[in-house]
């Protein structure tokens, strides 16, 4: 038990061997995944840093950077100005470019896994490991069992083929939320919400942020061919706009 507490201090993913049947992934595979991420993280500050990992008798664990400032979800409690939004956007896009370059699509980008450091820099967290864990449906008691797909791309909702561009859509939803102070799509049921992701036009940003409307539109384009083709293309466009 002492070990568990210590690992929590550094912020750690622990996968117990007893759980691996539920996860349907042998812990060794998870460690292999972690190897990929640590390679990415080693060269790039936009990823949560991974310090060490081990697979011992009882537990597989990854010691991961701890973020005392919390995540973007917490940061969204207070207004975020346009300049800060653009700064976060650029860092998240750079992080995505790095993971996409090694063939990883995040697929579940949301404010809960964009982490903030003390210097207000931002890091991507929660890759395959967390996703495998989330395959356990846990009833939190509030009736929202799986989580609400506020950030999911239309192609994921429809069960179509998915590539790196789904991460750009999800990031676009977050950019809208940072600028407008509310989510672009809200609905009473999951079905209604997914219908909006697939069919409803992207709502307009507040007039003060109109200069970012095109960027958000192109990130949240429902048709893949209208969306930025890559995170790098998004970064280039921001650069070209002098942002």
């Amino acid at each position: 038990m002492k070990k568990l507490v210590y690992l929590f201090v550094v912020g750690v993913v622990i996968i117990s061997a007893g759980c691996k049947k539920n996860l349907d992934v042998p812990p060794t595979n998870i460690i292999n995944d972690a190897d990929i991420f640590s390679n990415v993280a080693g060269i790039d500050g936009y990823m949560a840093r991974i310090y060490s990992q081990d697979f011992s008798v009882g537990h597989a664990y990854i010691a991961m950077e701890y973020f005392p400032c919390g995540d973007l979800r917490a940061r969204l409690q207070t207004p975020i100005d346009a300049a800060t939004t653009v700064a976060y956007l650029k860092q998240a896009a750079a992080g995505l470019a790095a993971i996409h370059a090694v063939g990883i699509v995040h697929r579940d980008l949301k404010p809960e896994n964009l982490m903030l450091r003390r210097d207000d820099s931002l890091a991507l967290a929660d890759f395959g490991v967390a996703k495998q864990v989330s395959m356990l449906i846990t009833d939190t008691g509030d009736g929202d069992i799986v989580g609400t797909p506020y950030y999911i791309s239309p192609e994921q909702a429809l069960g179509h083929a998915v590539d790196a561009r789904c991460d750009i859509y999800s990031l676009g939803v977050m950019v809208y939320e940072m600028l407008a102070g509310r989510k672009p799509y809200r609905a009473r049921s999951v079905r209604e919400l997914l219908n909006m992701h697939v069919h409803a036009p992207v709502p307009r940003l507040p007039p003060a942020h109109a200069h970012l409307q095109t960027v958000v539109l192109q990130m949240m384009a429902k048709k893949l061919e209208r969306r930025y083709p890559s995170a790098q293309a998004l970064l280039d466009d921001l650069e070209a706009r002098g942002l």
């Binding site: 009882g58 995540d71 967290a125 490991v129 846990t138 999911i152 079905r191």
Partner: protein, 292 residues
Amino acid sequence: MTPAAAASSARVTGFQSRTAVRRMGSALRSRELPTIPDYDVQRRVGQGRMSTAWLARDLRRGGDVVLKVLNAGHAGDAARDAFAQEFAIPLSINNKHVIRVFDQCSTRAHPYIAMEYLDGGDLAGWIRRGITASDAVSLLGQAAMALAQVHEQGVVHCDVKPANLLLRSCGELVLADFGLARRAGATVPAVRGAVFGTPCYAAPEQTRGDRANFAADVYSLGVVFYEMLRGIPPFTGPSALELQCQHVMAAVPRLPLEFARFQPLVDAMLEKDAHRRLPNGAAVLDHVGCLA
């Protein structure tokens, strides 16, 4: 470290709570053979978060049984209630397609249920090895028969999936594991925080915690039927969230031409709107009868 900081770092790692970690730890500890009077425990045959299944010899009645033993750390009243219903529901149903239960004990150090040992393995294994279309129809019919009985008792199974459909060596299919079962119309699972269905097989309305309805079991069985025919389930999103979205939004992939005669039944079972779906096990059974 403060509790808030602990919770925050747990969130970083994607865990729901420290409780989840503690439960996983307790699952790990149930490795040594439990000592249970009147049974000779032989080996472990299954491991879940809530309970561990052991193959044992029944010293009073003779023969092999499976002992499902509640894991340490699940000694709370809610867990014991859920465990009690896992015994009571199949006990009240006398049908060869519903698992037989023999005995239970809820007071000793190791609360357990003694149930029939099925030596044919589960349907997941059979699907991996490949099932012919005619066997798939027969197995669907047997599962529908089980569900029809369960539904007649006013109970929704809530976790129909290949791992819970077991086979006797003679090839008879048996519905097992009533740990998540609920009375029709009930809103919350017996155990707060319990794993609630399996995203790959859960009906669109099930993942939102709607009231349990018979049609949810029909949907799950429809997924199983599709999987028996194709070898893979209709939706294969990599996360629970994506799977949920696909169940709610994505069109069911068409069956290949050779299975075209099953398409209307698959569509009627995998209908997204619970009110337009086949309503219960008996209705599925009627349709299977028409196929034969």
